[in-house]
């Protein structure tokens, strides 16, 4: 792969990404925060994010794909248990689950 092709690829990726954002700003020009569309699009946004999370945990690509399903699912449960057990402490839940994940992948 040539250096020039990589830069063109970065440009293509940036344009594809920015199109989603810019078209979003354009589409929002007549939407107010108390309109039905606003609430619908908020539901769609959180639905998409939860779909992304489920896919990352169950069908990951890249580095996470090297880990076992057991480690991903068990450490996801650990994150939720820690979050609800320790006064909804986000930092503690995230750090403990990540450390558990690294340890499970190393030893199991």
């Amino acid at each position: 792969m040539s250096s020039q092709f990589i830069y063109l690829s970065i440009l293509a990726a940036s344009l594809g990404t920015y199109f989603c954002r810019a078209f979003g700003v354009y589409s929002a020009r007549n939407i107010s925060t108390d309109s039905p569309v606003f609430h619908w699009i908020k539901c769609v946004s959180i639905g998409v994010i939860s779909a992304v999370i489920a896919r990352i945990i169950l069908f990951p690509e890249g580095i996470l794909g090297e880990a076992t399903s057991f480690s991903r699912i068990s450490c996801t449960i650990i994150a939720l248990v820690i979050y609800f057990s320790f006064k909804k402490n986000v930092l503690l839940a995230v750090i403990v689950s990540a450390i558990s994940f690294a340890l499970v992948n190393h030893y199991i």
């Binding site: 792969m1 250096s3 092709f5 990589i6 830069y7 690829s9 970065i10 440009l11 293509a12 990726a13 940036s14 594809g16 990404t17 989603c20 954002r21 810019a22 078209f23 979003g24 589409s27 929002a28 939407i31 925060t33 108390d34 606003f38 609430h39 619908w40 908020k42 539901c43 769609v44 946004s45 959180i46 639905g47 998409v48 994010i49 939860s50 779909a51 992304v52 999370i53 489920a54 896919r55 945990i57 169950l58 890249g62 580095i63 996470l64 090297e66 880990a67 991903r72 996801t76 994150a79 939720l80 909804k88 986000v90 930092l91 839940a93 995230v94 990540a98 994940f101 690294a102 992948n105």
Partner: protein
């Protein structure tokens, strides 16, 4: 703008867990680019101009697989299509009559899952005229931090063990998960989240490339239709 208190408050908000969550994955991405044969300036440009991690991974993997520029554009467009509803959703929240169009379009570059979640978590406590500056501080810091972390990951990839890198990649989805759970206060949101996750798993077998977007649209639409009568207007 850059000397305003809301801008500084946005930066303060970003420092800590939000920056750690996103930065750790960007660090791992920088290490991945190093091992994939990218140079440091290419790594810098990827996060500086794209700032959407799943699409950045797709770009790098499509290059390695020998894909064309059109392949890369379409694959990234599909992967980062999730940013469209998030942008439509957050733009009316942060804009005010003093914010020009070009500033809205420029600032949209800072919209990502982390900045979206964190802005929604606090926006009701911020005056309308301050929300835009606050978001620029929050999203702008997360973006700048991501660029720095990508470079750091590229430079220190040989120092960090593979197990730690894998652990760092896991931080971001766990952060998204916890932020999602912490935002579940209305029935329509709970329904949208549960359906979005379930449909994504089911649809992945049939339409893997489109499963996330289709699942999100279906789940959000069903959640909205079922519980729209319970919306409390601000």
């Amino acid at each position: 703008m850059f000397s305003s208190q809301p801008f500084k408050d946005g930066i303060k908000h970003a420092i800590g867990v939000p920056a750690l969550g996103l930065g750790s994955s960007m660090f791992a991405f920088g290490a991945f680019l190093n091992s994939a044969g990218f140079d440091i300036f290419q790594s810098f440009c990827s996060t500086f101009f794209t700032f959407a991690l799943p699409g950045q991974f797709v770009m790098a993997e499509t290059i390695l697989a020998g894909g064309s520029l059109l392949n890369i554009f379409l694959a990234v467009l599909l992967t980062n299509g999730r940013l469209y509803p998030m942008t439509v959703n957050i733009t009316p929240v942060i804009r005010n009559q003093n914010v020009s169009k070009w500033k809205q379009y420029l600032t949209s570059h800072f919209i990502a899952v982390t900045s979206w979640f964190n802005m929604f978590a606090v926006h009701q406590n911020i005056k309308q005229e301050d929300k835009f500056d606050y978001f620029v501080g929050l999203g702008g810091f997360l973006w700048a931090n991501s660029v720095v972390c990508t470079i750091a990951g590229y430079l220190f990839s040989n120092v960090v063990s593979h197990e730690i890198l894998v652990g760092m990649v896991f931080i971001n989805p766990m952060y998204f998960l916890i932020m999602t759970v912490s935002n579940l206060k209305e029935k329509m949101m709970i329904c949208s989240v549960l359906l979005g996750a379930s449909l994504s798993i089911i649809l992945n077998s049939f339409i893997p490339g489109w499963s996330v977007l289709v699942a999100g649209i279906l789940a959000g639409s069903i959640g909205y239709i079922l519980f729209k009568k319970e919306i409390v207007h601000e």
